[in-house]
Symmetry: C2
């Protein structure tokens, strides 16, 4: 490769990392974008893959195709397993790569708060594979119920528990209700899908805790009108196959449910622990790396940490939420920091501009919070639709998603509800 003024390595092709790579594209800086996946994942719509409304490729964009025109950017598929801050090198699989500037944007994964044994019975929703796993569990439950004769077992098969009342939990619960009410209607002969029971369990007082109370209450009302049972102020104390145990004001409640989805806890990716282990980073409760106001790693001005991996305090002193807009704005900030270095400009501190947040609830409703403007219902849903459609990286996916959304809206169908399985690869021998 041609010589570059600076050699920048970006680890992670999510919202933050991709923004940095795009911002540095076409500059005199040499960029290496590393991800263990070959695509950028549009997380906000992943729940629609998990509920059979969209196909994985609709919410994923090959990183190479995004970067193809930027000759100063190379994309490498691989996993960073070690970082040597003193020698300024990262270990990609067995190979060391040197950097002048390092941008860490490896995001977050689930956390089960010390109960990793819950993972098997209650998968989370962070990767495409997890979405497909959840999709299979949801539709397989209805199939099993259709074949089952024991009424108690049928009830358990038609009970769906979503743990966590954040945006993902709310959107999943709404979509599950929609599947039961409309998608599967008339398709079964022995069960009635409408009998499915969707339970959303939130530890806090309200769903969507990060929203203003008025909107949280509205979201709760919308969920209930769809038929979702919303249990707030309840802590999940146990998850085993087919049973969820929840504790609400001292009362233990046991729910029989064969499908449980976990959206209750987020933990920064292990790279944080890697750095902390060598005393190079301080982590917050959810494993996020505490950063300077310019988003650099304390003591290491050449290393930036952004997105869900970073614990970045707002002016109010509260850490910024783990959402795409934060990661994207931090990415843009890091681009400016890096370009300033070329002209020996001083570091500047990052300012987050909160444009608001939104969550969709079922088929044609949503809650939207844009600064002082708050609204819900159909208009909010259209806003949500438009914003998400426009945020997709590729134009083609905008068309594909719009086409499927329109189709699903008019036909009440969900075209991507096919049950696929890793195991099947080996099963071709069976009849």
């Amino acid at each position: 490769m041609i010589a570059h003024d600076l050699n920048v390595i970006i680890v992670g092709g999510g919202f933050g990392g991709l923004r940095v790579a795009q911002g540095l594209g076409g500059t005199s800086v040499g960029v290496t974008l590393i991800d263990k996946r070959n695509f950028h994942l549009f997380q906000p719509l992943l729940y629609q893959v998990a509920t059979g409304a969209l196909s994985p490729a609709n919410v994923a964009t090959p990183l190479r195709s995004v970067m193809k025109r930027n000759r100063n950017v190379q994309v490498l598929l691989g996993e960073v397993t070690d970082i040597d801050l003193d020698r300024k090198q990262i270990l990609l699989d067995q190979e060391w790569f040197a950097y002048d500037i390092l941008v860490l944007a490896t995001g977050a994964t689930h956390q089960y708060f010390g109960h990793d044994d819950w993972r098997e019975a209650a998968p989370g929703l962070k990767t495409i594979e997890e979405a497909l796993d959840i999709r299979s569990r949801i539709f397989r439950a209805f199939e099993a119920a259709e074949r089952e004769s024991d009424p108690a077992r049928i009830r358990a098969l038609l009970n769906f528990v979503v743990v966590g009342g954040g945006p993902t939990g709310v959107e999943l619960a709404g979509a599950l209700r929609e599947i039961a009410n409309y998608t599967l209607r008339k398709e079964f002969r022995n069960i009635n899908p409408v009998d499915a029971h969707v339970i959303l369990i939130e530890q806090g007082e309200h769903v969507l805790p990060m929203y203003v109370p008025k909107l949280s209450a509205k979201a709760e009302a919308l969920l209930k009108s769809l038929g979702v049972e919303v249990i707030t102020g309840a802590a999940v104390t146990g998850i085993a196959p087919d049973t969820v145990t929840a504790m609400r004001n001292g009362q233990e409640e046991i729910i029989q449910a064969s499908t449980v989805i976990w959206t209750a806890g987020v933990k920064a990716s292990p790279i944080g622990m890697l750095l902390a282990a060598n005393g190079n980073a301080t982590l917050d409760r959810s494993g996020r790396i505490e950063v300077e106001s310019d988003l650099s790693l304390p003591g290491h001005p050449g290393v930036y940490v952004i997105g869900d991996l970073a614990c970045c305090k707002s002016d109010s002193g509260r850490p910024l939420p783990c959402v795409a807009p934060v990661a994207i704005q931090q990415g843009a900030h890091v681009v400016n920091e890096i370009l300033a270095r070329l002209h020996n400009g001083p570091p500047t501190s990052f300012q987050y501009r909160d444009y608001g947040s939104m969550a969709t609830i079922g088929r044609a409703a949503a809650v939207v919070q844009l600064g002082r403007i708050r609204f819900s219902g159909y208009a909010a849903w259209l806003t949500w639709l438009f914003v998400h459609l426009m945020s997709l990286v590729r134009t083609e996916n905008r068309f594909l998603v719009l086409l499927q959304w329109s189709w699903n809206y008019w036909t009440w169908n969900r075209s991507a509800r096919i049950i696929t399985e890793p195991g099947e690869v080996a099963h071709t021998e069976k009849p």
Copy 2:
């Protein structure tokens, strides 16, 4: 369920089985359609999933949604593991189901002619999971080559071998060349994807042996013009990770290739062996069940065998090929046989009407054989496009496929080329 004049069980929701279920929909016959998958798979376009042009859901249709309006048809997800012809019952998982009429349409899988150990290194293309496995292998090979420094290893990574010169092999080879020539162009910095080498190995004298020699030759020419190395008259004698051994006129040739795809052998699904084991069926070389002229199982007038599972002789005495049109026409015939029984009509013998066959080669070429009419090139490709588009079960998929085809055609891109892995589900812990 309400009482029905006849209780028909159909095993398999492929082209044949689905045709029977649709034909009996709305009649006074009670129908149970059983499949181990919850969708009908449009096999002819599966190679486009394997090469990242389409998403799995685009070539799959949930059986329930096809059948939802036919109240006399129930769909069950499960695997038939035994058949009791005397008691007229089938064993679905642990449960026995009684039938008056049984239709066996479980199709075919691969065969490695006694070398099942080749499967690991050279997967076949029959299921969606296999298509996704092949897709991952193809694009992972380019990713690995980009990271590799040893020239010999790079060559092996960029060698793609397709074993079998039938329609699937020809279409795969063409698509692989298209990926190397156009899709990945400009996306890599250390390798040039155009250097990829695609080798198609066919045992017979020509590719597409079932076509008239003129068209086979034309297909071969089209493949070569795309840059595919076509090796005919060569028998594969060994497949190991990264090496394929082929024998051509006494000469042994060893090809270094990290990606090998197997399309050389088809074997009927094990239900045939199940019946043969009890002396209830005679199988041909590829495990297909020999049937009467009315498609019934000899000695069992109430049992029909259709599609790839059936060995049905044409007037010329040659068995009919394993293609969708045969299965569909046999399905239609069985519907008539069953409805005739209601009025005690006599069995009639099945007549296959060959409307021709076609295969696409790469980006904008195909060979088409419609009775006496034979043509190739762009017009043939448009014909292929139209016929396949119209054959898709759901209108929505026609739009989705057409949109992606047009997009891929104009942008030279393949949107669904994401590398997904079963393993990843467990990998959420890694950075």
